[in-house]
């Protein structure tokens, strides 16, 4: 009995310590980003794998000036088979747990990304916090882009995505966000659109998705108008033109409230209220003192309202409810939604949206007046 207990205990130590499933770092191909490139029926996957020995070993990127990452290009019918092929090339176990981003080329996005999302959600190693991007370049080019402040382009992209709430240039969209949008009532999605300029990554608006298919794009200016309503903004700069003079403001805190209203005639319209606190960053023409704080704020409110309306008219033309107005109606009043659900695409194009922007400039900086006399 004693020997039996000792044997079983030893067996338990072996199994329960996780040794059975253990893998040494040098046996792993740690994936930081995956890129999906599709043309016709041909699926190509670019997998960015970290090279641990070259990480953090000098300015050049490695002990011997080598890159701390390698991109593997594999082909296959499914994303899962493409990624598995990395193992065939490297002989290492493909470890997806640290994957940060998924970059889709325009063709893959237009063709529908549901099957890729299914894989990204089903794989036990992957997290729902993987950030999505769409690009007009090949994912391989994106994964070889210069990342001045980061050693690995995937980390650079992930940081760009994390920084979106601090700017007015995009929205951080994770796999969870996208799937939630897809499962909502006829809600479209926005995914940051990136391109390459001088070998560096540049965010240029958003790709617009209807369901799982990309149906259009919004440029930076149009996107701003959308972000005022749906963005979780915590920063970003606004440049205001007043009488041929410019005034620069920084967003401190934005609180946007959008809700559907049923009027007396039984018609539904949307009310969007944007409140925010801003900081004055530059006012070289001393507009604050010349025309007064109230007039500046009034101009600012009008400017933002105009920006929102311009974007709204463009997105209405696209016929994709990226604001989630339909979903808001459903959440507030499911019965009303059921009555209009079948005709929502047409109704969205004509729906009335009342916008009211109400900003405050709460800080004017370290100087009173202007440097210019």
């Amino acid at each position: 009995m004693k020997y039996f207990r000792i044997t079983v205990s030893l067996m338990m130590i072996m199994v329960l310590s996780g040794c059975w499933s253990s893998r040494e770092l040098d046996e792993l191909a740690v994936v930081m980003g995956i890129g999906i490139d599709k043309s016709g029926d041909h699926l190509e996957c670019c997998t960015q794998v970290i090279v641990p020995q070259n990480v953090g070993s000098g300015e050049e990127g490695g002990a011997h000036g080598e890159k701390p990452y390698t991109n593997f290009i594999t082909e296959g019918k499914e994303l899962s088979t493409c990624i598995s092929k990395v193992s065939d090339t490297t002989g290492k176990y493909v470890f997806m747990s640290h994957n940060l981003i998924a970059v889709l080329d325009e063709d893959a996005a237009s063709d529908g990304i549901y099957k890729y999302l299914d894989y990204l959600m089903r794989d036990n190693q992957l997290r729902l916090s993987v950030c999505l991007f769409v690009t007009d370049k090949s994912p391989e080019e994106v994964f070889n882009a210069e990342a001045p402040l980061f050693e690995i382009p995937s980390i650079n992209l992930s940081k760009i995505s994390e920084g979106f709430p601090e700017s007015l240039s995009g929205q951080n969209v994770t796999v969870l966000d996208f799937i939630n949008n897809m499962m909502c009532k006829k809600k479209g999605s926005l995914v940051p659109f990136i391109t390459l300029v001088d070998g560096k990554i540049k965010v240029c608006g958003s790709a617009v998705f209807n369901g799982d298919k990309m149906t259009g794009r919004l440029d930076e200016e149009d996107l701003k108008g959308v972000l005022w309503i749906i963005g979780d903004l915590k920063g970003g700069d606004i440049v205001l033109d007043i009488n041929n003079n410019t005034l620069s403001l920084r967003i401190g805190r934005i609180k946007s409230k959008t809700f559907p209203v049923l009027d007396k005639n039984g018609e539904i319209y949307i009310k969007a209220e944007i409140r925010g606190d801003l900081y004055l960053v530059s006012d070289d023409a001393n507009m604050i003192n010349t025309i007064g704080m109230d007039a500046v704020v009034e101009k600012l409110n009008q400017s933002v309202e105009k920006e929102i309306l311009t974007s709204l008219s463009k997105t209405k033309k696209m016929g994709v409810d990226i604001y989630g107005f339909g979903d808001m109606i459903y959440r507030k009043n499911p019965a009303v939604w059921r009555a209009i659900e079948n005709t929502w695409e047409n109704r969205f194009k004509e729906i009335r949206v009342d916008i009211s922007a109400d900003f405050s400039i709460i800080e004017t900086g370290s100087i009173i007046g202007s440097v210019k006399k």
């Binding site: 338990m12 059975w20 499933s21 916090s129 799937i179 939630n180 959440r331 009043n333």
Partner: protein
Amino acid sequence: MDINRRNMAFTVALFLGGAMLLTSYVTDITSWEAWVPALLAFFLSFAVVSIYLKLTKKYPEKHLPEIFVCVFGKCAGYAVSWAYVFFFLVIACFNTYSVSSFFVGYVMPETPDIVFTVIFVFICSRAVRLGIENITKISIFIFFLISLFIILNFILLLSQMKISNFLPLFDHSFYEYLQAAHTELMNPFGETVVFLMFADKIKNNDFRSALIWGIIIGGVMLMLVVIRSVAVLGVTISISAVPSYEVLRLINIKNMITRIETLYSFLLLILGFFKVSIIYCAISRLTAYLTGLKTEKSIINSVGAFLACMTAVSFTSGFDSVNWGTKYAAFFATPFVFIIPCFLLLVITVKRKGEKAK
């Protein structure tokens, strides 16, 4: 008496907490409104538990098979008791498989199911050998650990929670709420019928308050987990296999506090161990009583071996067990959890009235 009231209450709470892994059975049906059937089941569980409490009040300090024998006679009493052995075996096997498939799926992907199952059951058997009294003694400490972790990750996930994820309210059909509440009521709340096997080890009044407080504490813990998952995942919760684990994978505080789900998986293992050990204890006691043994110690290993074998052959995959848990488990449990205890109470009441009339 061997077990005190406080230990028993926290044991019941942890027993209910063992169902944290299985919240997808309800979220699959009512999605973002999973909290509604969970709340409904929580309140209905008091009605179900009141039946058990009445049984123990009428037969104080007797355990379940003893009550069966007293009421139905030796022959029928034994037959019903054997049916309960089967029921306890099935729920033990189901819970063992759930823990095992979760660990093999998420934490130890290379380890074969059977190895994990055998080791898990072996550890449970060691605990059972020490007796229910000793298992209950560690309940407070484990409960403290689990609740601390739940509160902590609730706070860490606050920034990702959205109130709008709970809307619209009451948009599912009555049938869907009923189905989900039935599932939740039978598993885990109804499974507390297993504690009737230990009613003789605790003072009758203590048993009453321990069961009720255990359900309140455990129910609140489960509700918190469901609410947290809905608030973070929203409608996506309906397609998530283990929502309570999935939300923890999203915790990322400035890239410093991340990947704490491994810690959670360890706590889930403890909860699973606690739940299976209690059911295992009940099976051993019940079988020992029915086979006329003075103590269950001599059959613990045999019961464990049988449980491990049954777990290995009963489900072919995690999908299989989830499918069974969502669609059939509640219906399978209903006779044992509700109908037979009700019938038993009815017979006792009629018999007592007949005796009084005589």
